[in-house]
């Protein structure tokens, strides 16, 4: 320890302040979910859980939740397939254009969401529209899958780097064909990385709004329902309940992903490392 006592005390205070800052709004919005009144005034004067049942019975919330789950599951499935294939290619091969591939994978989350959203919206409307493609759950899935690939890719790539390619070769030497090697040797090694990547992809999709607004047409996911309801003051108590629910649904998968893949697996800032060491 080279730091003097005063510095350490100050650092401790600064850290406590920053951490408190990070959790303060989440706690406040959690408390508002139990606000019995329609008016959003602090301090909360009347505590109640009645908005939970109101939110549960709300038709708009139910439809939006159903849409969010469908979109999340399909986008996660696509991202799992694409991310795994890409990470296997990057981990086990050296080839011309390898950097271009890694760059294309991280670009969807490196560029601002509004760019991705606007680009997809222009393409769907102007290029795919004449072919009969209409905005809906399908186009939401296309957008979500595109930026979910990177979290699966990161998790699986990190795992493949740690496991030796010699195991695959040993499997081949023992007479297994590529499918058997994949099924009995590679997949068991990747299983937790796939699960972690899948959980994160779902959490990412479940929360996404910036790209979704551009690709959704008339369909509503839960964040879109929330955003459109924010401007109706009488329905804000329901929004508070949904907000608490959304935070819990997005944090729980992240907690489990972290247990499965370590803190590294859920660190989005690692994405560029994948590009720089390509």
């Amino acid at each position: 320890m080279t730091e003097p006592l005063v510095t350490r005390v100050l650092l401790r205070l600064g850290s406590a302040f920053t951490l408190g800052f990070l959790y303060f709004p989440l706690v406040v919005i959690g408390l508002y979910a139990f606000n019995g009144q329609v008016v959003q005034r602090w301090p909360i004067e009347e505590w109640s859980t009645r908005w939970f049942s109101v939110a549960f019975d709300n038709e708009g919330v139910r439809t939006a939740l159903k849409n969010s789950v469908i979109v999340g599951l399909v986008a996660t499935a696509i991202a799992l397939v694409l991310g795994t294939l890409a990470s296997m290619a990057i981990a086990r091969f050296r080839f011309f254009g390898r950097e271009v591939v890694t760059f294309a994978i991280i670009l969807p989350i490196a560029l601002p969401g509004i760019i991705t959203g606007l680009a997809l919206q222009a393409t769907i409307k102007d290029v795919l529209g004449p072919w009969g493609v209409v905005f809906g759950l399908g186009t939401i899935v296309i957008g979500h899958a595109t930026f979910c690939v990177v979290v699966v890719y990161n998790n699986v790539l990190a795992r493949l780097r740690r496991t030796a390619g010699s195991l695959d070769e040993a499997s081949a030497d023992l007479g297994a064909d590529s499918w058997q090697t994949f099924w009995f040797v590679m997949l068991p090694q990747m299983r937790t990385a796939l699960l972690a990547g899948g959980l994160l992809a779902f959490a990412l999709s479940f929360d996404e709004i910036i790209v979704t607004i551009f690709t959704s047409g008339a369909q509503q996911t839960l964040p879109i329902w929330m955003y459109s309801t924010l401007f109706r003051p009488s329905e804000l108590p329901i929004v508070n309940v949904v907000a608490l629910f959304v935070v819990v649904v997005s944090i729980v998968p992240v907690y489990f992903a972290q247990r499965l893949a370590g803190a590294e697996g859920i660190t989005p800032t690692r994405t560029k490392q994948a590009a720089s060491d390509a």
């Binding site: 080279t2 730091e3 510095t7 100050l10 650092l11 401790r12 600064g14 850290s15 920053t18 951490l19 800052f21 990070l22 709004p25 406040v28 508002y32 008016v39 959003q40 005034r41 694409l82 890409a86 296997m88 290619a89 091969f93 080839f95 994978i105 670009l107 601002p112 969401g113 509004i114 760019i115 606007l118 680009a119 997809l120 919206q121 222009a122 393409t123 102007d126 899958a145 595109t146 690939v149 081949a172 007479g175 064909d177 499918w179 929360d207 709004i209 910036i210 929330m226 924010l230 907000a243 959304v246 997005s250 944090i251 992240v254 803190a263 859920i266 660190t267 800032t269 560029k272 490392q273």
Partner: protein
């Protein structure tokens, strides 16, 4: 022990096996098979869309029907350069991004330093997760939570009221606070990683050579961790430039994101041309960051 189980699993026959053998002998084909789907998806769906967006910036819309007219023109770019409003909004957004980046760095540094150099390994791991959890919590909920907190009857004004003060949450200062909050974890993590990589022996050497702690900090620690700060700033900068939800909820001024969002329905070419502004700024920023060796510290 002697016969293991060689006799029990004869090599499989059939097309699957033959294909497998073929792939094994042709690694190039195997590589292409792996890359085909992700390449098609990202290449066609994503890069293709970006190209369509770029092209849209050179088209125009029919003034009566708002339909796209596919005629090459530079008018959109001329318009966003010559109209003062577009220029002002761009300058305001870039200034905001810079202010947010500075605030994030100031708030992130003590926590990152504490995590990297003072906390025990156990506490450190807990803190990393504690920083990551709010990062993954819904972006919209966080922005909305701040709207509630900053409102006239919210928590902040409840604190300030007895002091005879009031804070106008619906302002650029409010938005600055909210952006700083939203992107703070993206700054903490790279700085933490950067600090952790500095060998303790370097700091001890500085102390041995007579450097007091402040001097060591400014002459040794800060220069070594600077690329990590730049790395974090890529995120705080880029995310602020493109956002339109938080400005809509918190501020009344226009920002690049809100202008694009307002224009795209009726004037896609203008929106597309204006979208090139954040793209150009971010690519420029990435080039500078690369010069500063920031990529090695992400």
């Amino acid at each position: 022990m002697t016969s293991v189980s060689i006799g029990e699993a004869p090599p499989r026959q059939g097309p699957g096996r033959r294909l497998s053998t073929f792939l094994y002998r042709h690694p190039r084909v195997r590589l292409w098979a792996l890359l085909a789907l992700p390449g098609l998806w990202l290449g066609l769906v994503y890069i293709g869309s970006l190209i369509v967006l770029l092209l849209s910036a050179f088209w125009t819309t029919d003034s009566f029907t708002s339909e796209l007219v596919h005629e090459f023109t530079l008018d959109n770019f001329r318009k966003i350069i010559e109209t003062p409003v577009y220029r002002d909004v761009a300058v305001r957004t870039i200034t905001m991004a810079a202010a947010v980046t500075v605030a994030c760095a100031v708030l992130a540094f003590p926590l990152a330093y504490y995590m990297a150099r003072i906390a025990s390994v156990r506490t450190r791991n807990l803190l990393v997760v504690a920083v990551l959890m709010p990062l993954w919590a819904s972006y919209l909920v966080k922005a909305y939570a701040w709207q509630v907190i900053l409102s006239g009857q919210g928590v902040i004004n409840w604190f300030l009221d007895p002091l005879g003060l009031a804070f106008d949450g619906r302002s650029n200062v409010g938005l600055w606070l909210v952006f700083t909050y939203l992107w703070l974890p993206y700054m903490v993590l790279p700085i933490y990683a950067g600090l952790e990589r500095i060998p303790g022996s370097l700091l001890e050497a500085s102390a041995d050579l007579g450097g007091r702690s402040l001097r060591t900090f400014f002459r040794v620690t800060l220069p070594l961790v600077f690329p990590a700060v730049v790395a974090g700033s890529i995120f705080t900068f880029s995310l602020t430039l493109g956002d339109y939800i938080a400005p809509t909820l918190i501020a009344s001024d226009q920002f690049i994101g809100t202008v694009i969002y307002r224009e795209y329905g009726t004037a896609l070419p203008i929106a597309a041309a204006y979208a090139m502004v954040p793209i150009a700024v971010i690519f420029g920023y990435l080039l500078v960051a690369r010069k500063l060796k920031a990529f090695e510290s992400i």
